[in-house]
Point group: C2
Chain length 517, copies 2
Amino acid sequence: MNTGAFSLVHTAMRAGVEVCFANPGTTEMPIVLALDRAPGMRVVLGLFEGVCTGAADGWARMTGRPAATLLHLGPGFANGIANLHNARRARTPVVNWIGDHATRHLAFDAPLTSDISALTGSVGWTRTVKSADEMAEASLAAVEAALGPPGRVASLIIPADCQWEPGPEPLSATPSPALRETPGPALQEAARLLRKGRGGILLGGNALTVPGLHAAARVAAATACGVWIETFPSCQECGRHVPLFPALPYFPEQATEALANVASLVLAGAREPVAFFAYPNQPSRFLPDGAALCKLADPEVGVDAALALEALAQELDAPTGVMPPRTVPAFVPGGRPLTPDTLCRAMAAFTPENAIVVNEAATTGLTWNAEHASNAAPHTMLFLTGGAIGQGLPNALGAALACPDRRVIAFQADGSGLYTLQALWSMVRENADVTVVVCANRRYRILQTELARTGIAEPGPKAQALTDLTRPVIDWPALAKGFGVPSCSVHTDGEFADALLRAFAERGPSLIEAVLA
Amino acid sequence: MNTGAFSLVHTAMRAGVEVCFANPGTTEMPIVLALDRAPGMRVVLGLFEGVCTGAADGWARMTGRPAATLLHLGPGFANGIANLHNARRARTPVVNWIGDHATRHLAFDAPLTSDISALTGSVGWTRTVKSADEMAEASLAAVEAALGPPGRVASLIIPADCQWEPGPEPLSATPSPALRETPGPALQEAARLLRKGRGGILLGGNALTVPGLHAAARVAAATACGVWIETFPSCQECGRHVPLFPALPYFPEQATEALANVASLVLAGAREPVAFFAYPNQPSRFLPDGAALCKLADPEVGVDAALALEALAQELDAPTGVMPPRTVPAFVPGGRPLTPDTLCRAMAAFTPENAIVVNEAATTGLTWNAEHASNAAPHTMLFLTGGAIGQGLPNALGAALACPDRRVIAFQADGSGLYTLQALWSMVRENADVTVVVCANRRYRILQTELARTGIAEPGPKAQALTDLTRPVIDWPALAKGFGVPSCSVHTDGEFADALLRAFAERGPSLIEAVLA
């Protein structure tokens, strides 16, 4: 007789789930046993739940299909929330399986009991299984909820008895990750607004694929509108093969200035741009008063933005664009100290074709994004979407397992990287082709900027200590060694370039600590 | 003009809060500035929020007074939930300050926006500040809520504008952490039940202090009742100076057997014992049918269990006990391979008087608890209360800062230690006298036991992989080096004893990887 856990796992597999990022405990043992005997289901241990959820996010960003996570009750799920928050903002499909105490045991309020659904509800769709009979149907419902459109985080809370009791026959549905195709009447509205002049387009979602970016360029050529990319996209095609558009700036004063002359803004896969944080004398919204806003492809209902842009280009009779060839600055090896600029320049020179760059490099990552990614070979960039740091290394793990034939570069700030550094270990166990580049400026640079923005001329020692990562200096090569990852530390662009080339020549993970001057 | 943040911080200081474990972001900058200029308030940076909340728990377990944490919106708080869950189960007073977007900015659903109160509500008392005018009163209310009795986790959600706008004069109240003194009519009931014979007492909370344990011994001597200690106490006085009682066993079949002959159970600072997890053919409750239950000192309403036991001893005319001197097995240095037994034996021989042992050593920790702690010099033990692993290293940090004249031993399982290993860095920065002993069995041993309990004769490779921490082996000395902690690795009890003595002779943290055979 098959268990409820068997029904869960096999239904999910038939619905397209082929990997489970797991850190289970006692309440998940029947699911562990079901995974154990499910050929074709890959099971990856994370040493911390934030690794599991971030890896599931990375996997799904690259495949469009959800991975499962297997997490241990409320506290185990809580450890994964930060990266699920990022997945929620990226609209990534993720399916969480969270064990709970057996139904009859809940009333006794045993030590690990907590209100799990309060936690799961904070990041998306949630359902608590009531009986083993539901296990196939609930499993499919979670995959369908995750796929959307739009993609979302879907969490199943599964009491242990629902796992271990006899379960129903697995279901055999294969929901597919389709975006909605019709932009609807917004298409004519967008064309009308852009024809009037002083228009703008903000790109997000799948507008950042190759077809989407080319269509946006055609629309821009036809209407002389401005085009921006949302500040924190989920997944963006980058490099010499696609048109180059600026990201909308991060700080309100700069974003407001960028959009100052816009009479209308067409949203293609992006939401209306708002400030990441509020400041005492800065606006929350960036658009000038009276500017029109048109939702051509609303990401919150899952409209296909690339198709919508192509339809818009056609509507506007836009000529098929010919991209001018881009001149790539040659990299001359040297002994220049590493700065965000020299580091990114070297990386742009050597990024392998078809690489995946997971960009959680914070201040250095903005430099990459703004000035260097477009000069590199064609690659895909994943970005920190929800501001919950610690996304980079787990995302890189998941992306590498999703795309075993592509090189992943985890372009990582040191402060954020410390949040989920346990991902390094799983990279070794899974032999993931991830080259981790730690941009070691040894501080929370963004917070130093924010401190300065408060108007404080000279922060005292306690405020300074909160943004400083020296005392003691963090030895990233030693941390890498601790988790079994080969590593080195470099101080100049020449050393960095050599280290990159060595890393790319080998299979499996390695870590380069790039010490910034 | 003082800010709301100033009102918050100074009110909390006057109410007895003297340390803040922080990992702030932009929405907490005004609080950072207020902390910066608050002489007497210690500010400790954690590289991950679970470090901050676990340290606050450890601080409060040793002082009875809350520390503050400073956390960055929903995801920052979420990273701290697991250790707050443990604090909730320990009934530890903790005050969380969580920044949120400025009130006017919330409606725009910026990337870091989430339902914070859903998260904070899951671990205790919560309040969202609505205006800077409330900041003094809300700050005091949070400290009062945390102190209880019983102690609890109290969370203030503080929009950034409430921090930066002008705030009221700080309040000057000094709530004190008093337990309730009256056991009430339960005293006579407990005496009556125990006089009838076949009685038992279950100790928890402050029944595990020196006076509480001695009073329990007097009651046992007077009534021949059994005495057990709750399986996962918050804080327990251990060593040769206190009577030795067994912990109630972890597994249901063993706990049920231990209590099989009990006709009545008196709860002194503990709740009714229930199974940590449910199993298909095991009960949730341990007491035999018909056994009477008496709440002499109910921890959920904060009754002083030590005083209640003393009153019970007096009610029973129990003689003042004379503890028989305990024979301490001598430690003969040798080359014995490290097992839970040889390791604990060496540790018992050298634990310094008045040490604090933070026991998150899982299966090895149970051996310490059951057989060796009572032979060691007088010390205080902190335990994993809520089952949310990753409590040990942060707890040790907090306990060390609370008690700078006491040596802390972080007795740590390897699997759990990896959850919040970032605490090592803060130990160095704060020069905390913590000796970390990593019990490296290189597996999730408890899960291997649980797998076996499912009745599976031979788990397959995927189930095995989920409980195995080799491939690659984790190099703890390298991880320690990465965070600046001096370290070594030992394989025999003689090497371990030498390493302990070296560690105790130095100030500041160090780490010993004890590789179990």
